[in-house]
Structure formats: structure tokens, C-alpha cells
């Protein structure tokens, strides 16, 4: 923090003329902008980045209203109005993808959503701080692994020719393969989710538990409340606000279910059980070349998704939560 001596006299006089913070806010807009000219060297590159990579692509959605072909481009492709959307809504594959998306999302809400709460309560009830730390180390880890790794590992354990299949083979049961079974696939997806993210999900609940004042437990204990009663009447209610917020946000993103997770497994399981909206867009558009229809599907999903997230956030705020913006 060495300072140019030449700059000093100037700043002295400035300081003498009044508190600098107040004087800084004065002046015309042009003066204020000029005063902060160096700050803009920090802002402009980042702002341009978001403009180009978040806002400009929105223009690409124009393809949803075109019979787009990559050779003709945006300008050469004919406009077809809402024809792509009509095609979309009459396509049984879209309905199938929508149904799969919603079923998986609901299963997630039922099984994967409460899992971190249960795990946080269980870990919190451990008396040994060391064991707790150790278990946390283990359960947080899968969160950092990519979906490719997670599914590869599951494939080696539960897939055909994997560990479990081999063990069952030895006991006379052949043909076990949990990874390609279309009937149980949606449950498998939820199980993978719990395996990967449940541990990490406990962090936010631990934060809520840490905010509970100690004397509440003490008072309850003195009044004769058992460990169970303390958990039920003190810890659990303290988790409700966070849980409500997360639940509402989850409902808001109900049209998005683990994209990479499903993309990786869709070819193994088949479209009927494993196609969701996002994978539909990818397979139909990027691989299938139906750019217009796939973009229309993506746009529709994006618009409905944004509306859901925004209204979910509104509801969260109305319920007394903080919301996320």
C-alpha cells in the first residue's frame, strides 16, 4: 500500500473541503461517471460477457418460428409461424417426454427431497463430533464427481456383468441388470440422485440447525423432554422455513430433471422410459436435425420454467421466506 507522494497534497485539500464520501455522490451524472471511469474497466468486460453469452442466444430462439436449415441460416430460412409448436403438441414423443419428466420430478420430491433432512437429523444426533465429521467427509464426496463417473461406477456395480450381477449369477440367478431395466429406471434415477447429492444437501440444514439457540434444548431437557421429543419439537420446526423454500424452488424447476444423468442413460434404457424434455431437444434437434421443432420445445420449456421459478419465488416470499432474489 505504498502511496505516491505526489498525490498527497491534492487529497489533503479534498479531505479538508469535507467528508469525501458525501462529496463523491455529488456532481452531475457525467462527473460521476468520469470519476468512476476506472471502475468501468472492471464492469464492461463482464457485462459484455453476459450480453453475448446469456442475452444474444435468446435471439436464436427465432428458429422456433422458422423452418430452419443450417445451410440457409437465420435470414434465409422461411418463417412458419407457430407450425413447429403445432407439430410439437401433436407428437406423442413429446407427451411421453413430458410424462417422464413429471414422473421423475415427483419421485424426486417424494424420495430425494426429504433425504438430506433425514440425514442431517441423524448426523446431528451423533454425540461423537469426530464420527460426525468423518461421515460428512464420506457423504459429501459424490457431489463433486461428474455424472459420467457416477453412472460409470453404478454400471460397474449394478449393471449387466457388474458386481451384483456376478454375485447373483453365483447363486443361480442370472441376467440381473438394474441399469437397463426400463420398468425400474425412474426409481434408479432417484436413487442415483440421492447417492450423489443427498450428503451435500445436508449442509444447508446443518446451517439451520446451528442457528437454534442452545437454551431451547436445555429448557426442554429440564422440562423432561426426551431426545426424540427435542428433535421433533425443536430441531424439526427450525428446519421448516429452509425446507419450504427448497421445496418451492424444486417445484419451480419441475421441468428440469438431471440432464446429463438422463442423457447418458437414455441410449441404454430407451426413449420410452428415459426421454425427458431436455434430452428430447438434444436428440431431436442436434442429432436429428429438426432444429425448428426442437428449439420450439426448448423455448416452451424455458418460458414455462421461468414462469414456474418466478411464481415459486413469489410464493416463498409471501410465506415469509426470503426468496432467492
Amino acid at each position: 500500500m505504498s502511496v505516491d507522494t505526489a498525490a498527497r497534497p491534492e487529497t489533503r485539500t479534498e479531505r479538508a473541503s469535507g467528508p469525501s464520501a458525501a462529496s463523491k455522490r455529488k456532481g452531475t451524472l457525467r462527473q460521476r461517471i468520469w470519476r468512476e471511469r476506472w471502475t468501468y474497466t472492471f464492469i464492461v468486460p463482464g457485462a459484455l460477457f453476459f450480453l453475448v453469452f446469456a442475452y444474444v442466444p435468446m435471439l436464436g430462439n427465432i428458429v422456433a418460428f422458422q423452418q430452419y436449415s443450417p445451410f440457409r441460416g437465420f435470414t434465409g430460412s422461411p418463417f412458419v409461424g407457430f407450425a413447429n409448436f403445432t407439430v410439437l403438441l401433436e407428437d406423442p414423443a413429446v407427451l411421453q417426454a413430458l410424462e417422464n419428466t413429471l414422473v421423475i420430478a415427483v419421485l424426486q420430491l417424494v424420495f430425494a427431497f426429504p433425504a438430506p433432512i433425514a440425514l442431517a437429523l441423524l448426523l446431528n444426533s451423533l454425540l461423537s463430533e469426530r464420527i460426525k465429521r468423518l461421515v460428512q467427509t464420506v457423504v459429501y464426496l459424490p457431489y463433486f464427481l461428474s455424472w459420467v463417473i457416477v453412472i460409470s461406477v453404478w454400471q460397474q456395480v449394478l449393471g449387466g456383468g457388474g458386481l451384483v450381477a456376478g454375485l447373483l449369477d453365483g447363486w443361480g440367478v442370472s441376467g440381473f441388470d438394474a441399469m437397463t431395466n426400463a420398468d425400474t429406471f425412474k426409481l434408479l434415477v432417484v436413487a442415483q440422485n440421492i447417492w450423489k447429492d443427498c450428503g451435500w444437501g445436508t449442509i444447508i440444514f446443518f446451517a439451520a440447525i446451528a442457528g437454534i439457540p442452545n437454551d431451547r434444548y436445555e429448557a426442554a431437557a429440564i422440562d423432561g423432554a426426551s431426545g426424540w421429543q427435542r428433535t421433533w419439537h425443536i430441531t424439526l420446526p427450525a428446519l421448516v422455513p429452509v425446507a419450504t423454500l427448497l421445496l418451492i424452488l424444486n417445484i419451480g424447476s419441475i421441468l428440469t430433471v438431471g440432464f446429463e444423468q438422463l442423457l447418458l442413460q437414455q441410449p441404454m434404457v430407451g426413449a420410452e422410459a428415459a426421454e425427458v424434455l431436455d434430452t428430447f431437444v438434444y436428440f431431436r434437434g442436434v442429432l436429428g436435425g429438426q432444429w425448428g421443432v426442437a428449439t420450439a420445445a426448448g423455448l416452451l420449456k424455458g418460458v414455462i420454467g421461468t414462469i414456474l421459478v418466478l411464481s415459486a419465488n413469489k410464493i416463498a416470499k409471501r410465506l415469509g421466506g426470503e426468496g432467492i432474489y
Binding site: 463482464g46 453475448v52 454425540l127 442436434v286
Partner: protein, 300 residues
């Protein structure tokens, strides 16, 4: 959070240990959870070192070991190439992301004084609620001529709005007098940023850097979308090809006069190689789990 919990434990004479029954049930449940989380990973690592005679389904833990799978993979070249690509993407990407994110965060830290900063901030926050979709993003990357370039895996995701907000929050929590004093003494924005703000922000930069690094290392879908040339694939795509799609690893032999190692151990070894860097940085990440930095990051 743990300090409080610890205090609760130590300073809580009213907390009697639960009955042996409950403790036993808890121990079993926790044991099962730990095994479920850990055993699949241990199994994959162990099997990647298994001798050919042990490399079959149904072996719970191999007893004879061999390094042939790794030798063969490093002879083959494609996996090594993938690891190199991923390493480049991760190192370059993390450095650029951290630079760009912290610069923007500092620029937007004083929204009240800087005309227009508030607008830019809102514009950036809004991007957290929508996304243009897969195909428009693909078209942009194509239009920019980034298809089949490693940069397509770095530039489109250079700044995460969420990480920017976390860093900005941290910057705003820095002692204001210090920065104001430097400003009065005539230090410019860049000087304040480089000599005061960044050195004071090492913890948050470390966490965000590790998160960026994990994200870059795990890049899969963008590579699938943007990169056709298998020479430029990151390790995740290589892994998907050889393990999930069942493609043979070309040239994966230990030596010409020896039969190649069994496919299973080769696959396991590729999984391990793709996982090792995460396992290496994990202890560093873990330092922040308890320090509260991360809790703040998760809560936003």
C-alpha cells in the same frame, strides 16, 4: 456451525447418551450409509488394479493385483490425450474464470456510487432465471467459430452469476475504512483491487477456484455438443465412450506379445483416472466445509 454444536455437546450435562438399543440402530444405519457411498468407489479402484484372473464379475475385492491396465492405457494414448485436454481446460479455465469473476464482482461492489452498476447487476442476476436453451447456445458457439475448439468449453461458461454474487458479497464485507483510506491516499481502483482486495479475499477465491476447477474437470455435455474431433475430447467424454458406450480403447496393449488386459480392468482404470484429480482436491475443498465460507456460498 460445528463450534456451536460442540459447545452444545460439551456444555450440556443434561444430554444423556441414548439407550444402547438406539445407539446400535444408529451405528448400523450410519455404517450402511457409509458403505453405500464408499464401497462402489473402493470397488472400482480395487478392480482397476486386479490381476486378469480376478477381473470378473462377482469378485467383491480382488486379492491379486497388477498394473497392466494402467500400462496399457498409457500406451494407447487416447486416454492420456483426454487427461491432458482436461488438465488444460481446468487450469486455463479456472484462472480465467477467477480473474473475470472477481474483476466483475469488484466493479459491481459499489452499486450506489457507480452510475449504471445497479442496472448491470440486475441484468446479470436475471440470467439466473432463464436460459436460452441448448440449440441457441449451440448456434452462438458455431457462429463465433468456436466449434471443435477447446475454448468452446471455457469461454461460454467463463463467469457464473452465482459465484460472482458470492465473491461480491465477500468484497462488500471487507473493512471499508481500509479501502476508503487507500482511495483518499490516491490509490486507483486497479491498485486497490490488486494490492488490497485480492490479498484479503484469498479464502473466498480459493473456494470459488476449486468450484470452478471441479466444474471444468467435469465438463461433459458441452464437449459432446461442441467438439467432434476426438483428439480434443476432455476425459469425461473419453470415459463415456470407453465405459458406457463400450468402445474399445485403441492400442491398449501392454506389449505386442502379451494378451491385452481384460476390458473390465481397463474400464475401471479409466474411471479411476477421471476421478483422481477430484479426490486430490477434495481434502482442500473440505477445509472450507466447516469454516462457514461454503455454507455462505450455498445459501447465496
Amino acid at each position: 456451525m460445528t463450534a456451536l454444536a460442540q459447545q452444545r455437546r460439551q456444555g450440556a450435562p443434561w444430554l444423556s447418551p441414548p439407550s444402547p438399543w438406539i445407539r446400535a440402530v444408529k451405528a448400523v444405519v450410519i455404517g450402511l450409509i457409509v458403505i453405500t457411498m464408499l464401497y462402489p468407489l473402493v470397488y472400482v479402484i480395487a478392480m482397476s488394479f486386479a490381476a486378469p484372473s480376478q477381473a470378473r464379475a462377482g469378485v467383491v475385492f480382488p486379492t491379486e493385483f497388477s498394473l497392466d491396465a494402467y500400462r496399457a492405457i498409457f500406451n494407447g494414448g487416447t486416454v492420456t490425450q483426454g487427461l491432458q485436454n482436461s488438465l488444460f481446460i481446468t487450469l486455463t479455465g479456472t484462472l480465467l474464470s477467477l480473474t473475470a469473476t472477481s474483476m466483475l464482482a469488484w466493479g459491481l461492489a459499489r452499486t450506489r456510487q457507480v452510475p449504471g452498476a445497479k442496472f448491470v447487476l440486475v441484468m446479470i442476476l436475471a440470467t439466473m432465471f432463464f436460459s436460452a436453451g441448448i440449440i441457441p447456445n449451440f448456434m452462438l458457439v458455431k457462429y463465433l467459430g468456436l466449434l471443435d475448439s477447446t475454448w468452446s468449453l471455457i469461454i461460454p461458461g467463463l463467469i457464473s452469476a452465482f459465484n460472482m454474487i458470492v465473491i461480491r458479497n465477500f468484497f462488500q464485507g471487507l473493512p471499508e475504512e481500509l479501502i476508503e483510506a487507500a482511495r483518499i491516499d490516491g490509490a486507483g481502483e486497479w491498485r486497490i483491487f490488486l494490492q488490497i482486495v485480492l490479498p484479503l479475499s484469498k479464502p473466498v477465491l480459493a473456494v470459488m477456484g476449486l468450484f470452478y476447477a471441479v466444474g471444468y474437470w467435469n465438463t461433459y455435455f458441452n464437449a459432446l455438443l461442441y467438439i467432434n474431433d476426438s483428439e480434443k475430447w476432455p476425459i469425461q467424454v473419453v470415459l463415456q465412450q470407453y465405459v458406457l458406450a463400450g468402445v474399445q480403447i485403441p492400442g491398449a496393449v501392454v506389449s505386442p506379445d502379451q494378451p491385452p488386459p481384460p476390458g473390465v480392468t481397463l474400464q475401471m482404470a479409466v474411471i479411476v483416472l477421471a476421478t483422481v484429480p477430484i479426490l486430490v482436491v477434495y481434502p482442500f475443498l473440505q477445509r472450507y466445509f466447516t469454516s462457514g465460507v461454503l455454507t455462505g456460498a450455498v445459501k447465496g
